[in-house]
């Protein structure tokens, strides 16, 4: 096959862009590993932090993180799914309501997380009286990831072939049956992607959590206990604790692994739950 010089240049530029992105990640990762890999061990994951995190491990912090993420995703997923379906079903004609809601969601999606932190503190911690707790933190993160999740899922629903909708209606299927058996399974990849984006953003969050779930590093006993998330721990170790760099890097490696696992899980789950269970 012939290739035109312009085409080759274009191809080179694309490769260059891709490689530089990969290089940044590789450098970041190597740096983390160089610093933290030595501290990483099974003990690090299973023991409580000591001496402000300089010694010991991150057991309690890992548990808090998982609980906060669990609350955030557990609340955001059903609410977001409902909102996306509503937007897609009832506001399609390009009317004013839908446009305004989408605009508001896009605005919220771009909002700095510290704003969500302040909101969460004022609303969940103070107004609803949840205090500094895993519940406050999780709900705040849910509010924070909802806009992007809704928009992603809605885009996925919008991309579902209209022929299926009309086919389902022509067979006398109810809207909910069409949704459950045809439309949502077809949108499963978008739902998985939305969850991934949400989990990634929630796991990396520091600012919004400092005001809501706090930074107590004890093992939480219930959702109404304060708990320190991994990202908060990393921030604290590298900013406020002299000699905490090694453990900060090791914690960051754990966080990276956690996000990767969560993403895989989200994709697998949305595939399995939506395509398999509903389809067969």
């Amino acid at each position: 096959m012939h290739s035109v010089p312009g085409d080759r240049l274009f191809g080179l530029a694309l490769w260059g862009a891709a490689l530089s992105v990969a290089a940044v990640f590789a450098w970041l990762f190597v740096d983390l590993a160089r610093l933290g890999l030595g501290a990483l061990s099974w003990d690090f994951i299973t023991t409580a932090p000591e001496n402000a995190g300089r010694d010991g491990g991150i057991a309690s912090i890992l548990v808090s993180t998982l609980l906060i993420l669990g609350v955030a995703v557990g609340v955001a997923a059903p609410v977001g799914l409902g909102a996306a379906v509503w937007l897609n079903t009832y506001t399609r004609a390009g009317g004013g309501t839908g446009r305004r809601i989408r605009l508001a969601l896009d605005g919220l999606a771009g909002m700095p997380s510290i704003v969500f932190g302040l909101f969460g503190n004022a609303f969940f911690s103070v107004y609803l009286g949840l205090g500094f707790s895993i519940l406050s933190g999780g709900l705040t993160l849910a509010a924070m990831i909802l806009p992007v999740f809704i928009r992603t899922v809605e885009a996925g629903l919008g991309a579902v072939d209209d022929g299926w909708r009309r086919g389902a209606a022509a067979l006398g299927l109810t809207q909910s049956a069409a949704l459950a058996h045809v439309i949502l399974p077809a949108a499963a990849p978008a739902i998985g992607a939305g969850l991934m984006l949400g989990i990634g953003r929630a796991a990396a969050e520091t600012a919004a959590l400092i005001f809501t779930s706090g930074y107590v590093d004890r093992m939480p006993e219930s959702l109404s206990d304060s708990g320190r998330a991994l990202a908060v721990h990393i921030y604290d170790l590298s900013m406020n604790v002299a000699g905490g760099d090694t453990h900060a890097a090791a914690s960051a490696l754990v966080l990276v692994a956690l996000v990767a696992c969560a993403n895989l899980l989200a994709v697998a789950l949305s595939r399995r739950l939506l395509t398999r269970r509903l389809a067969l």
């Binding site: 004609a93 299926w164 086919g167 022509a170 067979l171 006398g172 109810t174 399974p185 067969l280």
Partner: protein, 276 residues
């Protein structure tokens, strides 16, 4: 030609009187403020194949969508006039806002231009509408599925892979599956919007033959741009044309009459275009 249809009557003396199944009077369809179809009056006869022909954009799809209220799905679509489903002495007003459209669509099935099997297994495609209409017994389901697939000539081709994804079938097979999916609900009327136009000539021929085999048992309304096909399978033909950008029914009658001795000059010109 199939001995069960009313189609052969034009060959000799009429042996039976055509019975209206759908009675349409002054039907008009508009989208927002734009009328696209007006003043359509005709009867669709029971057990016959009625072919709708006419140029692109003259409102054939809109007409078909009005018949099973699929126009309800289009924001801003309005249907006016009288539209009745005749069943012996009873007749059902299809434009009644309080009509149970799910029940209507069960009686009036629809096949689309682009085959649209759901992204499920072949079996699930047929099971889903049955289950949603309250049929749950496994043996009854299996029996109905086999019957529907046999009716469209697909049973032998897919009996060993009922759990394979429907989207893995060829285009012609997908379209026949969609017809089976409509048949499985045991409708009285089938609306088909250019069911063969997305298929290659051989698959199109297979589907056409299959549609022909449905005449007598079902009332079929089929839109087609293929005039030769309309002539081959239609018992009746309706010719739509545009006047001042609004679609209208220009001529309706026996297929043979429309094709061999059209009354209206526009029909003659359109049919003539096919020859020339």
């Amino acid at each position: 030609m199939n001995p069960h249809t009313l189609g052969c009557i034009e060959a000799g003396t009429p042996c039976c009187v055509p019975v209206p199944h759908l009675s349409i009077e002054n039907l008009a369809v508009s989208y927002g403020d734009t009328p696209v179809l007006s003043d359509v009056s005709l009867d669709i006869y029971k057990g016959c194949i009625t072919a709708l022909i006419g140029p692109s954009g003259c409102g054939k799809t809109s007409f078909l969508n009005a018949l099973n209220r699929l126009t309800d799905l289009i924001p801003g679509a309005r249907v006016e006039g009288r539209l009745r489903l005749v069943d012996g002495a009873n007749s059902l007003d299809l434009l009644d806002p309080g009509l149970d459209v799910r029940a209507l669509r069960r009686r009036v099935g629809m096949i689309f231009q682009r085959p649209n099997p759901f992204p499920l297994s072949i079996r699930r495609n047929l099971e889903l509408p049955l289950r949603e209409h309250g049929m749950r017994r496994a043996d009854a389901l299996a029996h109905k599925i086999e019957t529907a697939l046999s009716d469209v000539g697909l049973w032998e081709e897919v009996r060993d892979r009922l759990d394979a994804p429907a989207l893995a079938l060829s285009g012609g097979q997908q379209q026949r599956l969609c017809i089976a999916r409509a048949l499985v609900l045991e409708p009285e009327i089938l609306l088909m919007d250019e069911p063969c136009s997305a298929l290659d000539p051989i698959a199109s021929g297979v589907v056409e033959e299959m549609i022909q085999s449905l005449s007598g048992r079902y009332t079929v309304v089929i839109v087609t741009h293929n005039l030769a096909q309309a002539r081959r399978i239609g018992n009746y033909a309706a010719f739509f044309w545009m006047r001042e950008r609004i679609g209208q029914l220009v001529e309706f009658g026996r297929c043979r009459q429309i094709f061999d001795a059209p009354v209206h000059p526009a029909t003659a010109a359109y049919i003539g275009g096919m020859r020339g």
